[in-house]
């Protein structure tokens, strides 16, 4: 065990650490450096101090994007978790009790399999599908289903509703995963707890709020973090589905799209790095907040 320990450790760590250091850590470090330059993405650059950050502060589009990210970050996890909890509950104990045993509704296995499937599809694929589902003429699935006499709905071309369309697709894809996750959590809650509560005359709604929800709290926290990350990205959906990459009129603009556009379309890679730096601190505070919240919870428990 003793001889040759260090050569072995170095040998096993060298390649993974090198790859990670170059492409991940290296990119993060350079991001800080480049945020202070006027780099276009190609060739040389010069230092311009904090100009990028001043520009960022005054950039209306960035603030709009930040607001949209905030909206998705708040609404998407809440709605997804609520729907997933409801379905998981119905699948596990919604079928009432027979001989004192609570059970799931009929066909709950099939439902679980079907609901989960969208999780397997690439978000880019989902984006292309739903761009057609939302098609603004009769070739779109939803407009095709609406009565003939109705004017076609514009969906993604409508400033007021475009972001909601994106939100719905995010939820459509995510729900099944959390149904399965919460189902697994509910499955590990002992039958006898439900039986005892049912004998005391507790309704199914009481069962849900007094037993299921508190016992699943850990799972819900994990779901919150995962969904927050997914809602914060949304690049594939916005890039593929929306009019003019974030339009119409920036109504679906998000930070990931802004970084991409500035880096590769507007030749402002230095500015894109500055947006990245701001994002770095936002993500850091989110992570810190999450750690604090989950830790204080586990002390109480």
């Amino acid at each position: 065990m003793r001889h040759g320990k260090y050569p072995f450790i170095i040998g096993f760590l060298a390649v993974p650490v090198a790859l990670y250091a170059i492409f991940v850590v290296g990119a993060y470090l350079q991001m800080f450096r480049l945020s202070l330059t006027d780099w276009s993405g190609y060739g040389t650059f010069k230092d311009i101090g904090f100009d990028n950050f001043v520009k960022l502060w005054n950039d209306e589009v960035i603030w709009t994007a930040l607001r949209h990210n905030g909206f998705l970050l708040l609404v998407m996890p809440i709605v997804t978790i609520a729907i997933a909890l409801l379905f998981a509950f119905l699948l596990n104990v919604g079928g009432g009790s027979k001989g004192g045993m609570t059970r799931g509704v009929w066909g709950s296995k099939i439902y679980r399999v079907v609901f989960f499937f969208p999780q397997l599809l690439a978000l880019a694929l989902v984006a292309v599908i739903f761009q057609r589902v939302y098609g603004p003429d009769k070739s779109g699935m939803i407009n095709g289903l609406l009565p003939d006499s109705w004017e076609p709905w514009l969906f993604l071309a409508d400033e007021k509703w475009a972001l909601t369309c994106i939100l719905i697709v995010l939820i459509w894809q995510a729900v099944g995963f959390y149904v399965v996750l919460f189902s697994a959590g509910m499955g590990s809650i002992g039958q006898e707890i439900y039986e005892a509560a049912a004998l005391d005359g507790a309704s199914r709604i009481t069962l849900f709020f007094k037993i299921t929800l508190p016992l699943l709290w850990g799972n819900i926290q994990v779901a919150w973090i995962y969904l927050g990350i997914a809602a914060f990205d949304a690049f594939a959906l916005v890039n593929i589905m929306t009019v003019n990459q974030g339009g119409p009129n920036n109504s679906t603009q998000v930070l990931s799209m802004q970084i991409y556009l500035n880096a590769f379309k507007y030749s402002q890679a230095g500015y894109a790095s500055a947006i990245g730096v701001v994002l770095f601190f936002l993500a850091l505070s989110f992570a810190w907040l999450t750690l604090r919240v989950t830790r204080s919870d586990s002390v109480e428990a």
């Binding site: 170059i22 066909g107 880019a124 694929l125 599908i129």
Partner: protein, 301 residues
Amino acid sequence: MTNLTTIPSAGATTAEPPAPAKETGRRVNPLGGVAHLALFLWALATVGPLIWVALASFKTNEEIFLDEPFGLPQSWAFKNFADAWSEAHIGQYFLNSVFVVLLSTAGTMLLGSMAAYVLARYRFPGNRFIYYLFVSGLAFPTFMALAPLFGIAQAMNLLDSFFGLIVIYIAYSLSFTVFFLVAFFRTLPHEIEEAATVDGAGHVRRFFQVMLPMAKSGLVSIAIFNIVGQWNQYLLPVVIMQSEDKYVLTQGIANISVSAGYQAEWGQLFAALTLSILPMIIVYAVFQRQIQAGLTSGAVK
């Protein structure tokens, strides 16, 4: 169901108006009905768009605009599929994806498990530092440092190369893989490893012949997680791969979607979508359990 609900109502018959006739037989659970409806509608919303896509892939442009989204095609011709395969190069994109994901997942698993093993089982100065360096990557979204990553790939001549894409996939997959496997390796017993040492097995042999076989379930989970994640990756290839014949599937589909808009070849787009969804359905049908376990493994630990 019977004993819990009928006893109280039987005792209260004198005070209440006469119960409806079916109260005496099998009482229909009203929540059960609503539950079924809600679950059924969500299942419909999940498979509806996919069925719509599959039907449209057999239709001509005129039929797609016919305002009957779920009408059957006039003929079940495979022309759209042939076009999608040859003209839209969906086959090429598909093979590119298979090639990239095969190598990048293999590389991620090998390098990730090597690093995780050393970090989980050996004490040495810097162990904690390297571990936290890997784990801290989980807090930040990939798109954050997009501009500098492009710069690094450019400087290293990795743009538009499969090798570059594979290496970058591996680098960005290491955070979660190492995090997950370190936790997993720590749970495995030390005794067998020690017995192997007594038998004269070296560090490397212990890893490949003792640890990896013991860790099989964890390795399968994280491998599935990486395959799905890398297969569905869209942001990184958009930045790295520039010539069309090197596009991966997600990129290719998004590209077909754009050109379908220009050339009004919707049938071809739907056929391309069907061809990309179908393998996922087949794989999911066969490995449904493993896939659900693999994808949720990150959330339930």
